[in-house]
Symmetry: C2
Subunit: 405 residues, 2 copies
C-alpha cells in the first residue's frame, strides 16, 4: 500500500471513499454506479420491500437493475421506523457521501432533513438529484423522465419536420442528470481535500439538459426562433448535405460529408464524378439547399448494398459513415468488449448477459472484478459490522424493531 | 484566504486549478465549461485561425460558442510551428489539466504525444475525449455526433413505431461524452491529492452513451430483442398508459400516470368516474394493453384546453404532466433564472442573450461573475505573463516566429 506517495502503480481513484447510495430507478443509481466503478465502497440502501426498479422485471431482477448496481453492497433500512432513521444517521457519520434522488422534501417529511446529516458529519457530501432542484418556484413539480423531456425542450427538437414533438427514445434526462450528479460529488470530494468540509451538491435534470441543447438553441436563436424545430435525420439547421440516415438493403446507415474532400470521394465512389462540376452541388451551402437531390443520389447507391458493405466502402474512401445498429448488436460490440467497457457475465438467474463498466477510463488503474448486483439486504450484517462495529446482538435487536430486514 | 482550514465560507470548488482547454465544437469545450464554472482558471487554446465553432455563426460568433466558453481566458498557439509546440509544453508544465477532443492520433502526428506532456509534468492530468477511445480496433473510425448516434444504438430506439431509426434532435453523444470527461478529470484531481501523480483519463462517446440506453437494453433483452424498437411518445415497453404526448389546442402536453391514484384522479378530472369500474382499465397492465382507448380518452379532453390550462388542472389534481415547451420558452424559464442557472446578459454583438451557468450546484459556493467568451487571442499576453512570467520581448519574439497571434 503506497497510497500516499507518488507511484505509477495506481489502485482505483476513489478507493477508501464510503458512499450511502439511496438512489432509485436510474438517476441516483447511475451516480452510485460511477462511484462504485471508480473504486468507492458504495452501499446501496433499500427499503425493506426493495428499491422500486427491482419490481420491473416481471418477478425477476430486471437487467436494468443488474446493469446499474454492480460493485455495490446492499443493505435494507426501514426509514419509516425511528430505529431505522437513527441507523441511517449513524452510517452517515461514517460516510463520505450520501446520495439520493427522492422528490425534494421527501427526506424532510421523514424527519431526515439535510442539516441533520451535516450536523452529524460536517465532512459529509450530501448529494441530491431531482427534476427541478431543491429551490425555486417549480421545485415540487412532479418529475419523471417523460415530463422533464417535455419542459426541458428536449422533445421540441426531436421528431419529423412535419410531425409532433417526440420523446427521445432513451431516458436521457435521468442519465444526463445522473452523470452530472456523480461529477458534482467528485468535485466536492476534491474540494474537501482543500477545505476539510463537505456540504450539499445538487443537480436538477432540467438544468443538466440545457447545455445538451446548445447547438439547437444557438441555431434557433440565430433564426429568430423561426426555423423548423424538428428535422428528423437531416441536418438541424439545413447546413450540410449529405447529412442523413439512408436505407441500405438490410437496414440503415448514417452518412455525413463535413469537408469538400468527403464529397468528392463520395462522388468517385458512386461513379458520379460528372457531378463534381454540377452547380447545384458546388458548395456545402448549395448542397444543403438541394438536400433532397443529394439524398436521392446517395440513397440510390446505399439501397443496392448491405449496410456493412456500404460502410466498408465509405470507410475505405475516408467518408464519415456508420451503420445504424440495434441494441443487440451494440451489446456484442467487439471493440467495447476488447476495451473492457462491456463484459460477458453469467448471471445466476438471467444466464449470459452483458454488463457495462464505467465509461470513465483512468489509464493504469487496477481493473476491478465485476460483482453482480446485491440481493435485497445481502450485506446488511457485513456493512453494519464493517462501518459501525455493530455486534450480532445489536443487529438482531434492529431486526426486532423492524428497522432492517 | 483560508483555503487550508475548515471553513463554511467556501470559494469555488476548483479555485487554483489551471487548465489548458484544447477542446473544439461541443465535447471538449463542455468539459472545459464545467471546469471554468467550478472555479478553475481555464485557458482556451485556439489555432491562429480560431476554433472551428467560431466560424459557424455566419461571420459573427455563434451563440453556441458564447454559451460554452464563458469564464475562460483565450490564447492562440500555432501547433504546426516548433516554437508553438514548445510553448504548449511549457504551459503544460504549469498546468494541472490538459484536455482535448481531437481524433485519436492527431496529437501524435503533431509530435505532441501524451508521454511528452507527462514527462514534462508528472502531476498533469491529460484528458482525451473521442468517439471510440484511444485503443481498440475501431479507434480510428471517423466520429461525429451523427455517426456515433448510429453505431451506439441511440438512433435505433428513437422514432415512430412504424418509421425508420431517427437521430435524437440534440447532439447527445457530444455532450454526454463531455460531462463524463469533466467527471473523469475531477476524479483524477481527487486521486492526485492522494497519490501525488496525474495521468491519462479518457472517455469515448460511444461508451458514454451505453449506460444511457439501460432501460431500452433491459426491456429489449427481456423480450429476446424482439419488441418494437421504437415507440414514438408511447411507453417504450408498453408498460403504462396514459404515457404519451397529447395535443392541446395550442401545442402539446406530456401526461403519465404512475400510480393507481393518478389514474383515478384523472378520471375524476375528466368527469369520467364511470370508467373506474371499466374492466379494460382495471390495472396498469390492462390500460397499457388498451393504450389506444386510453389515449383517445385523454386527448379528447386535452384538445379542448390550452396546454397551460390543462397542465394547471392536472397539477392541481397531482397527476404528473408537463407542457412541451419550445427552446425560446425554455431560455425564458423563470424557475431556472431565479435559481441562477440561466442569466440574461447583454452581448456586445448579439445584444440580449441568455447564457447558462453550470448545472452542478454546490451550496454555499461563491457566485461567480459571468465573463463572456474570449475574443480570439484576447488573453495571450496576459496568460503567458501570468503562467510563465514571460517578458514582453519574449512574447513579441514568439509572434515573430508565427507561434502565437
Amino acid at each position: 500500500m503506497t497510497s500516499n506517495s507518488a507511484t505509477s502503480t495506481k489502485k482505483c481513484p476513489l478507493e477508501g471513499i464510503k458512499v450511502l447510495d439511496l438512489g432509485q430507478i436510474y438517476n441516483g443509481p447511475y451516480a452510485g454506479f460511477l462511484l462504485a466503478h471508480a473504486g468507492a465502497d458504495v452501499v446501496k440502501v433499500e427499503p425493506l420491500s426493495g428499491e422500486v426498479l427491482r419490481e420491473r422485471g416481471g418477478g425477476e431482477v430486471p437487467l436494468s437493475f443488474a446493469m446499474l448496481n454492480t460493485n455495490k453492497r446492499g443493505i435494507t433500512i426501514n426509514l419509516k421506523e425511528s430505529k431505522g432513521k437513527e441507523l441511517l444517521l449513524e452510517l452517515a457519520g461514517e460516510a463520505d457521501v450520501l446520495l439520493e434522488n427522492f422528490a425534494p422534501g421527501a427526506m424532510d417529511r421523514l424527519d431526515l432533513g439535510i442539516d441533520l446529516f451535516l450536523e452529524k458529519n460536517p465532512r459529509l457530501i450530501y448529494a441530491s438529484g431531482s427534476g427541478y432542484g431543491l429551490t425555486g418556484p417549480k421545485r415540487d413539480n412532479l418529475a419523471m423522465d417523460l415530463t422533464v423531456q417535455a419542459v426541458s425542450g428536449m422533445m421540441s427538437i426531436n421528431g419529423l419536420e412535419n410531425g409532433p414533438p417526440m420523446k427521445a427514445g432513451a431516458a436521457v434526462c435521468d442519465f444526463v442528470g445522473g452523470v452530472h450528479l456523480y461529477a458534482g460529488i467528485v468535485t466536492a470530494l476534491y474540494e474537501r481535500e482543500v477545505t476539510g468540509v463537505g456540504g450539499v451538491v445538487e443537480v436538477a435534470m432540467q438544468e443538466a439538459i440545457y447545455p445538451v441543447l446548445t447547438s439547437n438553441i444557438a441555431s434557433l436563436h440565430r433564426n429568430k426562433w423561426k426555423q423548423p424545430l424538428r428535422r428528423g435525420n437531416k441536418h438541424p439547421t439545413r447546413g450540410s448535405a449529405p447529412y442523413n440516415v439512408y436505407e441500405a438493403n438490410d437496414g440503415h446507415i448514417a452518412i455525413i460529408c463535413v469537408k469538400e474532400d468527403h464529397w468528392f470521394s463520395l462522388l468517385r465512389l458512386l461513379n458520379r464524378e460528372d457531378l463534381i462540376v454540377d452547380k447545384r452541388f458546388a458548395t456545402q451551402a448549395l448542397r444543403a439547399l438541394n438536400e433532397d437531390a443529394v439524398d436521392e443520389l446517395v440513397e440510390n447507391w446505399t439501397k443496392t448494398k448491405t449496410k456493412e458493405e456500404a460502410v466498408k466502402l465509405l470507410a475505405k474512401n475516408k467518408i464519415p459513415a456508420a451503420p445504424v445498429r440495434n441494441l443487440e448488436e451494440v451489446t456484442r460490440d467487439e471493440h467495447m468488449h476488447e476495451r473492457g467497457m462491456l463484459r460477458y457475465v453469467t448471471h445466476p438467474i438471467m444466464g449470459e448477459i452483458v454488463l457495462p463498466t464505467s465509461p470513465i477510463r483512468h489509464h493504469g488503474s487496477t481493473t476491478r472484478e465485476l460483482n453482480l448486483e446485491p440481493h435485497l439486504g445481502q450485506h446488511t450484517t457485513e456493512v453494519l459490522s464493517d462501518w459501525l462495529k455493530m455486534s450480532k446482538d445489536a443487529i438482531a435487536e434492529l431486526r426486532g424493531f423492524n428497522a432492517i430486514h
